[in-house]
């Protein structure tokens, strides 16, 4: 059975979450965007075998999810949905890098496995952070913030249009797949042979729609510039939020907290 529709509905759920009303929801999108970018840069900047140093970074998603009242299970499912990409990126590491780095008694763990785990950990952290950003802010407000930061206007517009029409497109694709599956009497709804013309038709329909949208834009005075009104304000809480997280990330990046803690505990035990 196809589940394109179900997935698109779930993406839409991020917007529903963004309509929530918490301290974090009310923050200016720019503050959340900077904090998220800092977080991602900090997480990605570790060397390839970093594992223990990454774990303290889970504090960011945990605090935001609990303060923002976000459904952790739903976000986790979304992360799992895209996880094959990360697995694909790192899956060959254990095969290529067989040098033993850690020895647990008689079991040696190869560097490849550690870097693979590190990739997965970074993937979970960064994707969760991005999802949290969208669920606390809304995709459109994130785009608004990007625009304020000087991101080229055409690029932001592409993003906005993409987000506006992804739902229409998935609906259209879903209807076509459904129509196909109703008339194909085997278990596979869309075979390879039907997939190609189906994608072609979808592309043609998209082009036609693009033309109609362009026409609609021209009718309302489109002159190559899209103007959007967005009221954004940086207050004390935004500054505290951004600086607080940034300093924490820098601290976590520079000091290996789990190692220090471990040394402290073993020192006390001795």
């Amino acid at each position: 059975m196809n589940n394109i529709g179900a997935n698109s509905f779930n993406i839409g759920y991020l917007d529903t979450l963004a309509c929530g009303d918490s301290v974090l929801h009310r923050l200016d999108p720019r503050a959340k965007l900077i904090a998220t970018l800092m977080f991602i840069v900090a997480v990605v900047s570790f060397d390839k075998y970093a594992l223990s140093q990454l774990t303290p970074f889970f504090i960011y998603p945990i605090v935001l999810i609990s303060l923002g009242g976000l459904p952790a299970g739903y976000l986790l499912k979304k992360v799992l949905l895209v996880s094959p990409f990360a697995i694909l990126v790192g899956i060959f590491n254990p095969l290529l890098d067989k040098e033993i780095l850690i020895q647990f008694g008689s079991i040696g763990i190869a560097g490849g496995w550690i870097s693979f785990m590190s990739i997965l950990l970074r993937f979970v952290l960064t994707v969760t952070a991005a999802l949290i950003l969208v669920s606390l802010t809304g995709f459109n407000a994130v785009c608004g913030a990007l625009l304020k930061f000087g991101m080229p206007r055409p690029f932001v517009m592409q993003l906005l249009f993409f987000y506006r029409y992804i739902f229409v497109l998935t609906d259209e694709a879903e209807r076509m797949v459904r129509a196909g599956s109703f008339r194909s009497f085997n278990s596979r709804a869309v075979g390879f042979k039907t997939f190609i013309p189906l994608t072609g038709t979808l592309l043609l329909r998209t082009l036609e729609r693009a033309e109609r949208i362009y026409h609609a834009m021209c009718c309302r005075g489109f002159d190559g510039h899209i103007r959007i009104i967005r009221a954004m304000k940086i207050r004390h809480q935004e500054i505290i939020f951004t600086l607080g997280w940034t300093f924490l990330f820098i601290w976590l990046r520079c000091y290996n907290i789990p190692l220090t803690l471990g040394a402290l505990i073993t020192g006390v035990l001795k």
């Binding site: 839409g12 917007d15 309509c19 906005l160 249009f161 506006r164 739902f167 005075g221 959007i228 009104i229």
Partner: protein
């Protein structure tokens, strides 16, 4: 108030693939008139509408909006004065939120931000959907989408409203609400439709298109009674003017 006049003189149009579209269409719609353009599928109603705001250019013939012929030079002014509501609201509502969408036109007209906010609020209140302001368009019902589409056009304060199948894919109540709303507008209205009952409710004048030509142009009541004309144009009498089969059956029984 002559700028509310729409006049087409001998419009001819051929599609890029060579199919003949309009084959010499002429009419004059004056200020405040409400006109239905009816015809079967493929009667090029939508093509005709696209000529009225300069999206398509006729191979021959002219369109006059107000006192001037439509040219490339005055296209911007014409598009402000001729507000177009599309058949599919998903084509019309392209911005991320309802507010942004309604504000799109006024912002392009160069209005000040405060003025834009006022205009958007007024337009949304007129069509009764002010509460949807911050919603993304894809989450609205068909009826709501249609109302917002009309608001996007009203926000540009057009003199002439051109609508393509405004009642298609609406449930009966939303359809009725829309008709009542459109009745309150004082604009010149041009409505392409299959919904002949709506034409009866809304438009005092009807133009019948058949295979790219005008086969009739006159009072709606008169045209809708002319069964021969309707049949030859692949149309049917509006439902309310057909005799009720249930009542007819009852009469026979008595």
């Amino acid at each position: 108030m002559s700028h509310h006049i729409v006049e087409a003189v001998d419009l001819q149009y051929t599609y890029p693939d060579g199919t003949a579209g309009l084959k010499g269409v002429s009419f004059r719609i004056s200020h405040g008139e409400s006109v239905a353009i009816v015809g079967e599928n493929g009667a090029v109603k939508s093509t005709l509408l696209l000529h009225l705001n300069g999206y398509l250019t006729a191979a021959q013939g002219t369109v006059r909006i107000g006192d001037y012929p439509l040219t490339k030079q005055n296209l911007k002014a014409v598009r402000r004065s001729v507000g177009m509501v599309f058949q599919n609201p998903d084509d019309q509502l392209f911005m991320p939120t309802v507010f942004d969408d309604v504000a799109f036109g006024p912002l392009n007209l160069g209005l000040a931000k405060e003025e834009v906010v006022l205009t958007v609020n007024r337009a949304l209140e007129t069509v009764g959907v002010a509460h949807l302001k911050q919603r993304p368009p894809y989450k609205l019902s068909q009826g709501e989408k249609r109302a917002v589409s009309i608001a996007t056009v009203l926000a540009m304060s057009p003199d002439i409203l051109v609508m393509d199948e405004p009642t298609s894919s609406l449930d009966p109540r939303s359809r009725r609400r829309l008709i009542e709303l459109l009745k309150t507008f004082r604009h010149t209205k041009i409505v392409a439709t299959h919904d002949l009952d709506m034409a009866l409710d809304l438009c005092e004048r009807t133009i019948v298109l058949h295979q790219g030509r005008i086969t009739a142009d006159g009072p709606t009541q008169k045209i809708m009674r002319d069964e021969e004309l309707l049949r030859s144009s692949s149309l049917e009498k509006p439902l309310r003017m057909q005799s009720c089969p249930v009542c007819a059956g009852e009469k026979k029984a008595f």
